[in-house]
Symmetry: none
């Protein structure tokens, strides 16, 4: 087995999920993630922890969902009981066809999702971590050869996370001390309040309230947004390619929008509910191991020289303890990314903290 | 998809497991059983039942078991909770390498098995059914081409189960009325008490207390075993080929044993615990759709003209209601088969019920 798969498994089990002896670990394995599952099971076993392995097959799920009448039982007890008794859930993505569920009617897909909110909550109450095993299907989505895609994934995953966490702590400190963020670039001049919010140093570990491997971003939950913002990184939203989105905010809400491709997707998203018109996240990509866009939000939003904003649901981890329910509520959380490598700046309370992608503590920073 | 896979799935879901709307169905999928899993998920969905899919990977299990220190936690709660809340467990066998776990030390394998008796009980308290998807690995184990093996499997699985159930009822009647079974052939003269036991007409359906698809046997739980028995059908136990096993019983327990190949495997099995030295099952193969040995116990033991005995755990279904806990208890249940097509007879209370493979109600029976 490729030694990098073992390294990936060790990083997941030790750094990300902090598995300890006696932990009850659910391992959820996508169709193409078998090799990583074997390596992870070995690491979990070596820590004298227990494992139960789920088969997270898009084709099995598609077959069940399509054949079902559509009146889905609310949170089937056997599955909720599994997660309620689990300590960790390790989700190994990596399917064999990113469009395997393209012909599941969206009403049925949504009905199934809605019926499982208790199961989802129980799963998210564990020390869960999502990662991805490189597959040919994902390489194809990224427009890359398989070998190059493997290198890309391991470059992003196998980092010195402790060092990156230390660097990201500087950004968290700036955001925690600040009241207002301003982002300026082409067709963009946006101000957001972050007063009273707590930034998350998302260092790919449950010890940092971070549940993605790779991660490498600092994010917070902005509000009272004013101005305009332009997202020049193409992305796939609800299976459709969207390009060059422009949003205008007044009083914290989107009041105007446009997109050069599939504008109706953005219209649908903003129309979901009241919370979908407000921001749920401001994230600053700081993983310089990610050096190209691969049409996967797990990687794209963590890339250095990018900033992303999400409309919709905010994370409770950005609020002081006891205030998690003040987070913006919505059925959606849609991330959109803007390239800040050139002709851009981000200010906190009027002070420039990043210019043309370079942070204030880095060499070459021009305040 | 091969239409026979859909037929297999329908037989499993309707005839075998009797899945109904709202049932919580655990689908356990071996590495090579993906296609059958998709077909079964479709049938489960069409009945408006819920599904949770497990990945029953030999390689994942091997990696975890080998790496583990060996002090396995007793019945990890998350897994027990899953089965305790499930209605049905459908196990789809069919791996990619029947010797995938050959290098797991047997002490560790046994320790893990022993630590999971509560989980096993919870699983067996559901309407569980085990079946097999034909894979190239199983074809190889059987010494057959893939196409011929597929035909073999579907010939065994896609039967008129109702008709076979009617024929097997005759054997059940004989055993239920009898007190002692005697088996006589080359190197074999074994008597077993069956007084107070209930024979199971194993017609591949939970409605018949039968949990294998294919099935086609009548089995009971013998005790007070005396004498010797010779198993001339080769089989694979714990990934190792075992031939010509000979067991000697006194007072219901194995007191001597030999085998012409891999005798140590038998030693390990008998050494697992106290119950491993006693019989857990006497089974009479009656599925004439199975016409050759394929080195798979699921099929071999159901073949017409064979009788099998298992050391280890007995099934509660062979006991009157309320007496299930009198069943022989063990972490193992290892079946061994003897060919009764020639020079053999089976008696119930001194009366011959099968001679040279022919049952007393069949043409050509020579009492």
């Amino acid at each position: 087995m490729d030694e990098r798969i073992h390294e990936h498994a060790k990083t997941l089990v030790d750094w990300s999920a902090r598995i300890e002896a006696g932990d009850d670990v659910v391992l959820s394995v996508s169709e193409g993630a078998h090799d990583l599952a074997v390596a992870v099971a070995e690491e979990v076993g070596a820590r004298d922890a227990n494992v139960l392995t789920l088969y997270d097959s898009d084709e099995v799920d598609r077959a069940h969902t399509r054949a079902h009448g559509g009146e889905f039982d609310e949170d089937p007890e056997f599955e909720r009981a599994l997660y309620e008794n689990a300590d960790s859930v390790l989700r190994l993505g990596g399917g064999r066809n990113t469009t395997a569920s393209a012909d599941v009617p969206s009403e049925k897909r949504q009905a199934k999702r809605r019926s499982r909110s208790g199961i989802r909550e129980a799963r998210m109450d564990t020390d869960w971590v999502s990662t991805v095993h490189p597959t040919r299907s994902l390489a194809q989505q990224a427009g890359m050869s398989y070998e190059a895609y493997q290198e890309f994934v391991y470059e992003a995953v196998l980092r010195d996370w402790e060092e990156l966490a230390d660097e990201m702590a500087k950004m968290k400190e700036l955001l925690d001390a600040g009241s207002e963020v301003r982002l300026v670039k082409e067709d963009t001049d946006l101000t957001m309040s972050i007063e009273g919010r707590t930034a998350v140093n998302s260092a790919a570990s449950v010890a940092y309230d971070s549940h993605n491997l790779p991660s490498g971003e600092v994010f917070t939950a902005p509000y009272a947004t004013e101005g305009e913002v332009f997202f020049d990184v193409p992305m796939t939203i609800n299976s459709q390619r969207v390009r060059n989105v422009h949003l205008t905010f007044e009083d914290g809400e989107v009041v105007d929008f446009s997109a050069e491709q599939n504008e109706s997707v953005i219209a649908d998203v903003l129309d979901t509910d009241e919370g979908a018109k407000r921001l749920g996240e401001l994230g600053i990509g700081m993983n310089r191991g990610i050096d190209q866009f691969t049409d996967s939000i797990l990687f794209d939003e963590k890339m250095g020289d990018t900033v992303h904003l999400a409309v919709g649901r905010a994370y409770g981890s950005n609020f002081p303890p006891g205030h998690e329910d003040e987070a913006n509520d919505s059925a959606v959380h849609v991330d959109m990314i803007t390239d800040v490598s050139e002709d851009s700046r981000m200010e906190v309370d009027g002070e420039v903290v990043q210019r043309n992608g370079t942070f204030r503590w880095e060499d070459g920073f021009e305040g």
